[in-house]
Structures are given as structure tokens and as C-alpha cells.
Symmetry: C2
Subunit: 383 residues, 2 copies
Amino acid sequence: MIVVMPISGRQFLLLPALAGLLWAQPAAPPAPIVSPEVHADKRVTFRLRAPNAKEVFVNRAGSPKLAMQRDEAGVWSVTTDPLPPDIYGYSFNVDGVSAMDPLNSVLTPNLLNPSNMVHVPSATPLAWELTSAPRGAIHRHFYHSGIVGDDRDFYVYTPAGYDPTAKTTYPVLYLLHGFSDDASGWTAVGKAHVILDNLIAQGKAKPMLVVMTLGYGAPEIVSRAGVGAFRDPSLVKRNYDRYRDALFNEVIPAVEKSYRAKPDRESRAIAGLSMGGAESLYVGLNAIDRFAWVGSFSAGGASSDYAATYPKLDAKVNEQLRLLWIACGTEDRLIESNRKFIEYLKTKDVRHTAVETPGAHTWLVWRRNLAELTPLLFRPKGS
Amino acid sequence: MIVVMPISGRQFLLLPALAGLLWAQPAAPPAPIVSPEVHADKRVTFRLRAPNAKEVFVNRAGSPKLAMQRDEAGVWSVTTDPLPPDIYGYSFNVDGVSAMDPLNSVLTPNLLNPSNMVHVPSATPLAWELTSAPRGAIHRHFYHSGIVGDDRDFYVYTPAGYDPTAKTTYPVLYLLHGFSDDASGWTAVGKAHVILDNLIAQGKAKPMLVVMTLGYGAPEIVSRAGVGAFRDPSLVKRNYDRYRDALFNEVIPAVEKSYRAKPDRESRAIAGLSMGGAESLYVGLNAIDRFAWVGSFSAGGASSDYAATYPKLDAKVNEQLRLLWIACGTEDRLIESNRKFIEYLKTKDVRHTAVETPGAHTWLVWRRNLAELTPLLFRPKGS
């Protein structure tokens, strides 16, 4: 069918065939529904049409699941209490099967469990919310890793005003994602670029580059076995060691060749979340000749034999290590192992900052951690 | 529960709490299934666990839907015939509701219908498959558009060897996505960066920059109304005019300031798919002082009052327009309107290249179109 409408004296040929684009929609769609719907009072309504389902609920990262109720049209829905402004991860569970929200185009990339996000905006912008701050850019680089043996990518954030032809040079934060994330996680979900834009514009953080790598030295660790893969000790060791080797021999040289990066240890930081927190500690604390600033957020997956894992870690590092910053969510089951590591650092007289952040093992905690850590980095000695 | 295992003489604290990451998985998962599974003979098996569903099928972009069969464990599956090597888009439909494949982390971003992709690899690499060609990079820029009134982004591909501090300058292809895509579409789905990497390495295309904008001058056109939004003529006009104004006044100046871009009309091309094809024709053919190369792939959404839409389009443009390249899929319902425009060009003695590509209104056609068009661009006169 071709629809021709008179438009200000002209004939417009209107687009029957463009509907071919919308192949995922049934020919005669039922009444449209919206999901998620963020209300003015900060409650959120989730909806899913699933006429034959027996049980549907909303899985929320770090929060109890929410049972949804079915209406006579087969639409399941649930409305939360008012939520503190933030960016929340969620997915649906339909009769025991995880499902993304088909009405929400805001996706959370993940190699095992892609999901969705919903943003409850704040009247006073949170550090990861857009403001009028000048915007930096995100650069995605591709290369073949001879060390890992795959084709992979890394992302580089450059702050507003970065000019590759100017003389200004920048310190670099190497920022690592967690298990099952990919290299896009810290921007797509963690909003690292927005956090840095805001903190730099406010004068709270120094202008810096942020390099976000793919955190797998052994990509086969990301399998349907989930964290069960961590039961294979040779796989775990290969994952961490090859990650370090690729970082040192492939990523850092590429960054320092292509970007106006300061190439000294006082200008390099390494930090990461969960598996990436364990990697940051393992890589960073064994290479204080390369990194003066080390951070971990909700670290998990590291050895608890600290003396063997960090053989050179004692009070002598205090002269060189400008910051060792260890954070974990108070509701995170990993907090006990993080506290245990803090106790070990105390016995070794290693200077450190221990942070406990309200929250669970989720990006709500890690965005806060990044916003807290980055203002501390790259300060001159004595400041 | 804490699992401690002896590992080469050390104790590893293994990760009970990391399981918190996998909140979308039920506590006692059923037997794992794989989807999609690409067989050696190039058949593809899709699987979805949906124990209470009554009818499940696979929606494939541009191909007939495939009914899935349920097994006694509640797993639905279907296996295709052997498929020609390519990257295919698909989603599931469960009891009339679109669903993404929860086992496939390869996502097709889309503002209305996010879906998944499956790659059937070719023994001889297709232009959009990874090879050992040197890799370019993708740069994502963010800005507030005063013209459109939103915060938006654009992407810039730079070829391998691009050096912002060197003297070499590059021509620029402005490459536009279709209705319901976002600015990431041409890389995430269209593999424009891979296509250019391969063609440049083979000497088939000239090294060039590719700028991929957000193609909405009126973002509200992307609504649940789908292509129905194109029935509002003032909305359609605002969408195209503001897109052009943002391109001319915001994007092109930013690109030519930040990149080593040749700033002359012989070094600027504009091309796009579907709605972006209509925009490329509308913007490009009314601004041959800015663009010497214009292309459209499966253009849709343009006016059929050609004289009013392109008032200056006649044989005189042949002196300036180096290429007018108009492609459409043979199975695309838009092919008739594209043929009609070709006939109009003939009546006006406007030199052009008409291409009919086997296929429907899908990325399979558009990747081919980009791989065919880019070798033709930016050739010296007389070559």
C-alpha cells in the first residue's frame, strides 16, 4: 500500500516499505505499552507483555527481585517504591528464563548476561549524569594480541580540550572492568567518561586519559560456567598473567605512542572492579616501578595467600606508592575478603586507604568509587 | 560458602560472592544450552528456553520467520538450512512478543527494536570480516546540539596509520544510518570500520575518514509510532532540515577542526541507508557546493515531488557532481520508488549510477553497498 498525502502543496510518497525495517513487530500490534516508565515521584514501572507466562519478575542488580502481576491483556507489571536517583540495571525473568526488556533500547553490554538500564534522574546532577560540562571523547582501538592470541580492542578517554598536536601531556588511569564485562563496560555502563568530564570541569580531578582494556588474558574464562571457571587454577593464573603481559607489552606502548601520555610511574594509575580489582592489585602491586597509584573496587578472584601473591609488599613500598585505595560495598559478599586484605596490609605497615561504600556488587557502587578515586590521583607530592 | 582449593602449594580464596554478579541466573540452573550454534556446514541452530510458551519463532531480518519446536525440557529450537556466509540479524518472538536471545551477547543496537546478530564465517573473508589488515580506530565525540536541542554524539573512523600530528590529510565520507538506528549503527552492525580497513589495505579504497552522525534532526520521530511518524509532514521536514543544519553548522566544522580532513567539496562525500539515504540525497543534491559525491542505499522517506525537493537538479550538475550512486535491494519494497527516482534523473540528464543488489531491506545489502561505493570515492578526475 502506498500512502500519498498532500503536504504544503506537494505530494510526499510515504514509506510503506520502511515498515519492513520493523520486522520484529507483529503486523497488527496490540495496544502499545511503555517500559520502563520513570514517574515524577521517582517510582519506576516495569511492564512486559507475556500472555502465556506463569511467573514473571524483575531482576535488579543488587536488589531483591520484584514479582510482576498480570493484567487481563497479558501485560505483566510492577511499580517500585520511589528510588534514589541513579542508573539501575535490571532484566526480566519469565518462567525461570532471563529476558531483556524489549521496550528499552538502553542496553547493558555483557558477555554472559546482557541486560537493561533505567535512569532515575537527580535534581542535583550525580557525578555520572550529564551536565553542561565540556565533553571529552572516547577512542576505540583494535589490534591483534600476539600474547593472548585474539583480535581485541581497548578504549581511551581523552578529556575536553585534548589536542594531539599540542604540547600538553596527561597522566593515565588504566581502568579495568569485571568478570563478564567487555572493554565497553566502563563507558557504556560505568559512565567513566561522564564522571571525568564532570569532575575535571569542576576542578576536582586533574585532566587525565583513561584507558579501558579488555580484561581477559584467557578469554575462555568467560564461559557458561560463569564464576565456576575460577575453580580452574591454571586458567585463573593464565588469565591474570597474560592480561598483565598484554597490558605491559601491547596496550601501554600503543597508548604512549599515540597519545600525549606522561610515561612515568607517577603519572600512571591502575584500578578496576571485581575481577578487574584483583587484576589491578596483582598487576599494580607487583609493578610499582610502573604504577604509583593502585585502586580496587569490590576486588574478587585474587589469591588469599597474600605473601605469595605480593612478595615485595611491605613498608618499603610506602616511599613509592602514592596511593593504595581499596573499596568495597557494604552489602557485597566480597567485603570480608577485602577486609581481610586490609588487615594484612596493616600487619605489613603498608599505607592504604580503605573505603566501605553503601551498596552491593553493582555499578551503583563502582560509579561512586570512580568518582571518589579519580580526585585523589596524580596530585603533586605534598599536596 | 567459601571454597578453598590447594593450588600449586598456595591457597586460593575462591569467589562465592562473585556469583552475585550473575544475578540474572537462577540459583540451580537447568542444563546449559547454546544459542545461536553455527555448525561447520553453515546451518545455524537457535535455541530458547521458554517452558510455558505456546508459540515461538525466529524473526530474521529480510527472511521468512522460522517456527521453533519445543522439546520435553521446555527448550524451543530450530535449525536453518546452510546459510551463505554473512552476518545475520534476528530476534525471537514468544507468544507474539519480541524477545532478544538471552544467550547471545552480540547485540544489534536500535532505538526501537534491539536484536541480535549471528555470524556465519566465510572461508574467503567477506569485506566485513576481520582479516590481518591493519586496523583503524573509531572515535566517539559528544556535544550539545544547539540546533536540535539535545545532547548527542557522532563517530569518526580514522584509517590505520592516521596520525593527527602528520601533514597527510584525508577526504571524508559522511555516512548516515537508517530510521531507528543510532549513531553506532554503521560500526556496531554495518562494520564500516572493518570494510574500510580491508578495502584500504587491499588498495581498493583510498584512505578516508568516515563520519557517522546521529541522523535525527527531530529525535521525536523515533517513537513507538514507528514509521507511522512519517505521516506527520511537518515532523518529517523538521527532521531532515535540522539534520542538515546540524551537519553543516555543528558536525562538519567540528570534524574539520579536530581531524586532518580535506575541507573541499571534491573531498567530501555523503551517503546513507534508508532514511539516511533520503537524507543524503536531500542534503547532498541541494549542496553540491559542499559535496562532490552522493550515494543512497535503499533510500526511503523522501518526497516523490522531485522537482520541488531538488530544484537545482539538472544536467548542469554533471560538471560538478563526481558521483551520484543509487542502490537498492531487489527484494526491498522500496525498489519501485528508487527506480522511479532513477527514471526522473534520466529525464533530467543527470549522470548517475544505478545499482540493484540482491536482497531485502537489511544490513546484508547495506554492507555490500558500502563495500561497492567506497572504492569509487575520491578518485582523481579522469581516473
